[in-house]
């Protein structure tokens, strides 16, 4: 260790921006949260009273909307990087609206399950399903708040446009929540 000479080190790690470090760490925390839920799910699954519930086929459609939402965000990121306002705006709209479709779809899937009598407190498998989808939905909803801020900014005629890094971080959040959904959906399907 060099203790006595000035070092011309630039502040920051791996050339990441403040916001990137913040969001990546946040994603790590979210990962841990869902990891604990998965652990608890697998632990509880091995008890006698566990009865898996059928997955409504609507969930496949919801998964597709989340994939499209993610693609929309990727499109918006490209638009922002190339300063192409049309693709930025279209991408953002696709990304946000399909995320909202996903949320509506998830809510609908709940309704279907309730209709078929798979109530929250009937079985631990049901409770886990509602709890995990609710927490995932809550994270998507928080993303939608950030999406609204950035989308409003990009329609602002004379204000600051959202920077490519902001749009790209929002897209990262979208991709990551898609990944988490796929993992959780996979967990539900395989058990």
């Amino acid at each position: 260790m060099d203790r006595h000479n000035p070092i011309n080190s630039e502040p920051g790690i791996l050339n990441l921006s403040h916001a990137q470090v913040f969001v990546y760490m946040l994603l790590a925390v979210i990962t841990i949260l869902f990891l604990f839920l998965t652990n608890a799910y697998v632990f509880r699954m091995n008890f006698e009273d566990w009865q898996p519930l059928p997955m409504p086929s609507l969930l496949w459609l919801n998964t597709c909307s989340l994939v499209v939402a993610s693609m929309g965000m990727a499109w918006a990121t490209r638009g922002a990087k190339k300063n192409n306002q049309t693709s930025l705006k279209t991408g953002l709209l696709v990304g946000g609206l399909f995320a909202l479709f996903f949320l509506t779809g998830q809510f609908w899937a709940w309704q279907q399950l309730i209709e078929y009598g798979y109530l929250l407190a009937n079985n631990p498998a049901n409770t886990f399903f509602y709890l995990i989808t609710a927490l995932h939905g809550l994270h998507i909803s928080c993303g939608v708040v950030a999406w609204m801020v950035i989308t409003k900014k990009s329609w602002n005629p004379n204000g600051d446009r959202p920077s490519p890094s902001q749009v790209s971080l929002l897209a990262t959040y979208w991709h990551y929540l898609l990944l988490i959904w796929v993992m959780m959906f996979g967990l539900f399907l395989s058990t």
């Binding site: 260790m1 203790r3 006595h4 000479n5 000035p6 070092i7 011309n8 080190s9 630039e10 502040p11 920051g12 790690i13 990441l16 921006s17 403040h18 470090v21 913040f22 760490m25 946040l26 790590a28 925390v29 841990i32 949260l33 604990f36 839920l37 608890a40 632990f43 509880r44 008890f47 006698e48 009273d49 566990w50 929250l120 407190a121 631990p124 409770t127 709890l131 927490l135």
Partner: protein
């Protein structure tokens, strides 16, 4: 001015009006003060609750108002308040907020608005927690570990009312506040260091707060999940944790759940939580011991790697809190082994502190007294931890006063000694005035000697097999009269120590108003928080120009220098 270019991304926020300056402030120093004041206020409540417990144990039946239910509520709230709402909040929210930007040569936290939000959400969690004192059946009395099924069933104090719910909600809100603050600390440490402040030139306390924050961010989600699932079990009658329960001949709606699952979730958080509290205490001691012994810290690199090792291993020891919950003996063996291994990096730290003192120019200031007291106390608490880490020793001692003595020594008295040392050390930086030295020494000696008189006898009571958490020890033949006498003695000591904390409080208030004016760097410390232009540091911390760092933070007694310390921002050519 090339400095400002590197910091273009970090905009400095400018407060507007009195509210902006002192209430909804985004300045890390004000937020640190807000965290400290709220944490100390709720901590005083926690101390008052412990006095109520001691009155019952020392003089059973003296107060009619303390019944078994109240007693359990006092025990529960005392534990939770002290561990989470006082120590975690004060070390990370208070010390973390104040020291990270100042010690790293930054203008503020990376995200000041999120930082402000973090405090207000923490404040909300304290309000929710305090509200449980005022609901009809009072706060929860389930014990601070909140083990189901008992914690959410009727009959447990607070279990039939809102008490347990308010506790669980308050914890979830606290975790959200901590996450916002924690992400900020991590980002600031990684991103906002002054030029020349490499990671291996950071003061050890910043390393400690940084790693403790990491632990918190990775461990608190376990408690969050546990709290939400327990809330579901309580409100929606689900059965995550609830087995089949027969109550008064009736079968309750629950069935099939696993109480041990909650224990795993709780302790996966609970053990790292010990280090979330201990690491900042280690950091404070490292700073204080080096500065007040006028000698560089021994083995800086080893200290950093020991911290990293402690942080890592702390995630694989949690089940040593669950030896009696019923576990596979091989699993017990594994957790006993990891528990003993964590003693190695911890011992490295203790040796390094002792070696720092070796042949040093030790100044017996109040902060140094606290350092020495910490070293002894932490050593004793750590040694009894080695006993309890072994399954075969733990099983007979489990749930006795030996455990109470152990954890109070290692994670209550030790961190509080470090905390007080830190408060005395950094008080001049915050207020520009010195704390009264004479009052400080009186407060120190009463606290230090008093805590030993309180907790040492508890080990002995534990060896006699007296169970913890019992409201009354009177009806048991195996508990001799000497225990009642000792309990009286402990209670009297506890009352004296409790009362002596008001000396500190008085010293704070009096010295803030009338204290002796402090010079800019009264302790002659090398770290950056004492090198700001003004004392106390103004808004934006550094005036026009950010500091540049040329050396590590412990250049005490540098050969060739006239002064016995060289601050971090002094280049070699300016050393006189």
């Amino acid at each position: 001015m090339e400095q400002s270019a590197a910091y273009e991304g970090q905009q400095v926020y400018h407060p507007k009006g009195w509210w902006g300056h002192y209430v909804f402030s985004q300045d890390h120093k004000i937020i640190a003060l807000q965290y400290t004041c709220v944490a100390l206020a709720i901590g005083l409540t926690g101390m008052f609750l412990s006095m109520m417990m001691r009155m019952q144990l020392g003089f059973p039946g003296l107060f009619d108002s303390i019944d078994a239910g109240n007693y359990y509520q006092d025990v529960t709230m005392h534990g939770m308040i002290m561990v989470i709402y006082l120590l975690t909040a004060l070390f990370l929210g208070g010390f973390g907020n104040y020291l990270i930007p100042l010690m790293l040569g930054s203008r503020d936290m990376a995200f000041p608005f999120v930082n402000m939000l973090s405090f207000w959400v923490y404040f909300l969690s304290v309000i929710i927690l305090s509200a449980s004192f005022f609901v009809p059946s009072g706060p929860t009395g389930a014990g601070w570990t909140l083990y189901p099924p008992q914690s959410i069933l009727e009959g447990t104090p607070g279990g039939d009312g809102a008490g347990i719910l308010l506790m669980l909600i308050s914890l979830a809100v606290f975790i959200i506040a901590f996450t916002m603050g924690g992400l900020n600390y991590i980002t600031t440490v990684l991103q906002s260091r002054a030029r020349g402040m490499t990671l291996m030139r950071m003061p050890l306390i910043i390393w400690c707060i940084f790693l403790a924050t990491f632990l918190g961010l990775l461990a608190f989600p376990a408690l969050f999940v546990g709290a939400i699932m327990l809330t579901f079990d309580r409100v929606l009658e689900t059965s995550f944790f609830m087995p089949e329960i027969f109550k008064g001949g009736e079968v309750l709606d629950y069935g099939g759940g696993s109480p041990v699952l909650f224990q795993h979730l709780f302790w996966f958080f609970g053990h790292p939580e010990v280090y979330i509290i201990a690491l900042p205490a280690f950091g404070i001691i490292s700073e204080l011991i080096s500065c007040h012994a006028r000698k560089n810290i021994f083995g800086y690199n080893m200290m950093v790697w020991a911290l990293v090792a402690i942080a890592g291993i702390s995630f694989i020891v949690w089940a040593h809190h669950m030896y009696v919950a019923g576990m596979n003996p091989y699993l017990g063996f594994f957790f006993a082994t990891t528990t003993l291994i964590i003693a190695v990096p911890t011992a490295i730290k203790v040796y390094n502190w002792v070696l720092t003192l070796w042949h040093a120019n030790i100044k017996m200031t109040v902060p140094m007294l606290y350092c020495l007291a910490f070293l002894i106390t932490f050593l004793i608490g750590g040694l009894t931890g080695l006993f309890l880490g072994n399954v075969s020793v733990d099983v007979p001692l489990s749930d006795t006063y030996f455990v109470v003595g152990h954890f109070h020594m290692v994670m209550a008295v030790s961190p509080v000694l470090a905390l007080y040392g830190g408060l005395y050390h950094w008080f001049p930086s915050v207020t520009g005035r010195m704390l009264d030295d004479r009052l400080g020494k009186i407060h120190f000696w009463i606290t230090f000697v008093g805590t030993y008189l309180i907790y040492f006898p508890m080990h002995y009571i534990g060896f006699l097999g007296v169970p913890r958490r019992y409201y009354s020890n009177e009806q048991y033949d195996f508990i001799p009269q000497s225990v009642a006498d000792l309990n009286q003695f402990i209670t009297i000591c506890a009352l004296i120590v409790g009362a002596s904390q008001f000396i500190l409080l008085y010293n704070f208030v009096n010295s803030t108003i009338r204290g002796k004016k402090a010079s800019k760097n009264p302790w002659g410390a090398c770290t950056l928080e004492w090198q700001a232009l003004e004392s106390p540091p103004g808004h934006g911390n550094w005036g026009d120009q950010l500091p540049v760092v040329y050396r590590w933070p412990y250049d005490y007694g540098l050969p060739g220098a006239t002064a016995d310390f060289v601050p971090q921002n002094v280049p070699d050519e300016q050393i006189t």
